[in-house]
Amino acid sequence: MTALILEQLLNGLQLGVLLFLIAAGLTLIFGVMDFINLSHGSLFMLGAYFAVLFQGLTGSFFLAVTLAGLGVCVVGLIFELLLVRRLYHRSHLDHVLVTYGLILVANESVAILWGATPIFSGLPESLSTLVALPFGISYPVYRLLVIGVGIVVAAVLFWLVKYTRIGMRVRAGATNRAVVSVMGVNISLLFTLVFGFGAFLAGLAGALAGPLLSVQPGMGETVLILSFVVVVIGGLGSIKGALLAAIIVGLIDTMGRAFLRDFLSAFLSARVASEAGPALASMLVYILMALILFFRPEGLLPMQKRS
């Protein structure tokens, strides 16, 4: 039983870190730069497709993942230069509609290029093995790798946003572009670069998640909503908060799926429990978000409280 619970906790942690990885670029672009980028999910999807493409070309998984990240970064830079930079000073609603338009274009382009149906994205032999962990748990190597990458990304982002001058300038620019530029900062160049970096992170996440998920048009959208959940309940702009939120969401979701039904059947009849259990499990993340925002309207670890 302990082993089971431990393994489920590990699963939850793993899912959480994966969610963080997916949400990382979004935290940067939405939380820090204050630009609502619905097309983040599309960049994620492109990452998965690019990884498949590059794996076919290079034969190396790691090279493919890196190239996919860079490829998506380039796409992100193009988006930024052509569209996004015209929108920073506009309202959130304008961001929403333009990036929604981008989703449509991205999904359809992918469907035209690769077909509307899922494509193959697999792992090299070396990564598709299991490792033995304490308590008799054997765990897929690849999932451990994902945890590792997620933690590295979290650390890098945290440092970048909180402690570097670039991070401070971006946060400043998100609230007052004119003044930052009057202070001698080339804010539009900076924003372009940061957007590109956010896109890189989205691409990286997509490339890494590809072998776990079904790589198909629209795969970014369910992921997108979860990412927003993570960013918002973590507290806008807070990397620590996003990581914490991602792990909580991962754990709650996994634990809900694993134990809620058994838990409910302690009070309710088996029939009702097996009806209510899964229903509740799928709502759990949203219930969690509603509760957190109800009691802490600014999220778990907000960058700052409003006065």
Binding site: P118, I119, Y142, L212, L213, S214, T222, P278
Partner: protein, 367 residues
């Protein structure tokens, strides 16, 4: 004189996986009969329902009222089927389902104008129960998505399976990660796993099942989850050895099927899926009925001819029950390499049951 057939399929969005397969099958059928249906000029009108019931309903009205089609084939999913069935059949237009066949429409709400080509939804799971009984499998773990079709599969399986279901898990419909379920399966240590994971879910589930190292521990039996072409291409080697229960496989030995598979492979470069095959059959059913009735004018005659199922099904033996759902054989199949092409395919491993009727026909009042 022409025959107009409206096809309401899910052609965009996440539902496109099935819709495009069906489109391929239907197109091929018309092409093979030289663009003619029962000797008359055949004309297809495609409508995309985007897997949304209300969009499907509007499409249906367009086909019936505006285009005044003679037949409708579709839709791809049962939620859309529930919305379009009544409005179509009440105008006297004939509706043929290429895939979804919910219990309600096979039983109490059966209709003279409604035909299901592939099966009644519960049948594959019922057949699987029989198969497992026969093989002496006692402990089974069941995973299905938490919606009506998932529950139907479990019900169907329980109807025939005599062993123990160690656990039945209902997963949210929009789920990306199955690691919690994999851990549960591992802990429960069943002899076999029954999974029903349609569309993209299936790709994820089978891949993750393999990555979790479960394949050697318990055989994976599936319904409506793996199919030739896109699905197996997307899953890759992880799918090898997975079982599937189907009413049709591409290697069935009958002339109609041989002809179909050969033509399909030539035209599209892959093996046909059962969705393509069923859509193909649906068109063939229309073709045969018009030939038998000598035209489309006399609706009664067409309906009677349809019911007689006077066409060469890719399944070989084929007949409609009183509720206009098929009586047919069910097969156990397994994913392995096709000798000729080397591609992975769902290959026949033997018949489970012949002339199987569905469980709801008795509730239907049709003669």
């Amino acid at each position: 004189e022409t025959v107009d057939v409206g096809l309401i399929l899910s052609l965009s969005g996440s539902g496109a996986v099935l819709g495009t397969e069906m489109q391929k099958g239907a197109d091929l059928a018309l092409e093979m009969s030289g663009g003619k249906l029962g000797g008359l000029e055949g004309h297809f009108l495609y409508e995309d329902d985007q897997r949304k019931p209300d969009v499907g309903k509007t499409a249906a009205e367009k086909l019936i009222r505006s285009e005044k089609v003679d037949f409708v084939i579709g839709p791809s999913y049962s939620n859309v089927m529930m919305a379009v069935q009544a409005p179509i059949v009440r105008t006297g237009t004939i509706l043929i389902s290429p895939n979804p066949a919910p219990a309600e429409l096979a039983g109490a709400n059966c209709d003279a104008n409604y035909f299901s080509i592939p099966f009644q939804n519960d049948q594959p799971a019922e057949a699987l129960g029989l198969h497992m009984n026969e093989k002496g499998i006692k402990k089974v773990f069941v995973v299905v998505p938490n919606y009506q079709a998932g529950k139907d599969v479990v019900e169907g399986f329980k109807r025939t399976f005599k062993g123990e279901i160690v656990s039945e898990i209902y997963t949210p419909l929009e789920q990306n990660d199955f690691s919690a379920e994999m851990t549960e399966i591992k802990t429960a240590d069943p002899e076999a796993v029954l999974a029903f994971m349609p569309g993209g879910l299936g790709v994820q589930f089978v891949k993750q099942y393999d990555q979790a190292g479960l394949k050697p521990m318990a055989d994976l039996y599936t319904v409506f989850t793996v199919f030739n072409g896109v699905s197996l291409d997307a899953i890759g080697a992880a799918a090898e050895g997975v079982y599937s229960v189907d009413q049709w496989t591409y290697d069935l030995d009958n002339p109609a099927n041989k002809e179909f598979v050969a033509a399909y492979s030539t035209k599209y470069g892959t093996l046909p899926s059962n969705f393509a095959a069923m859509a193909f059959d649906a068109v063939r059913l229309i073709d045969g009925a018009i030939t038998a009735a000598g035209g489309v004018e006399d609706k009664e005659a067409v309906r009677a001819a349809m019911k007689a199922a006077s066409f060469q099904s890719v399944r070989g033996d084929f007949a409609f029950n009183t509720n206009q759902h098929p009586i047919h054989a069910m097969y156990i199949a397994r994913v392995s390499k096709d000798e000729a092409t080397g591609a992975l395919a769902v290959r026949n491993e033997g018949m489970i049951v012949d002339k199987m009727a569905d469980s709801y026909a008795a509730e239907c009042t049709l003669e």
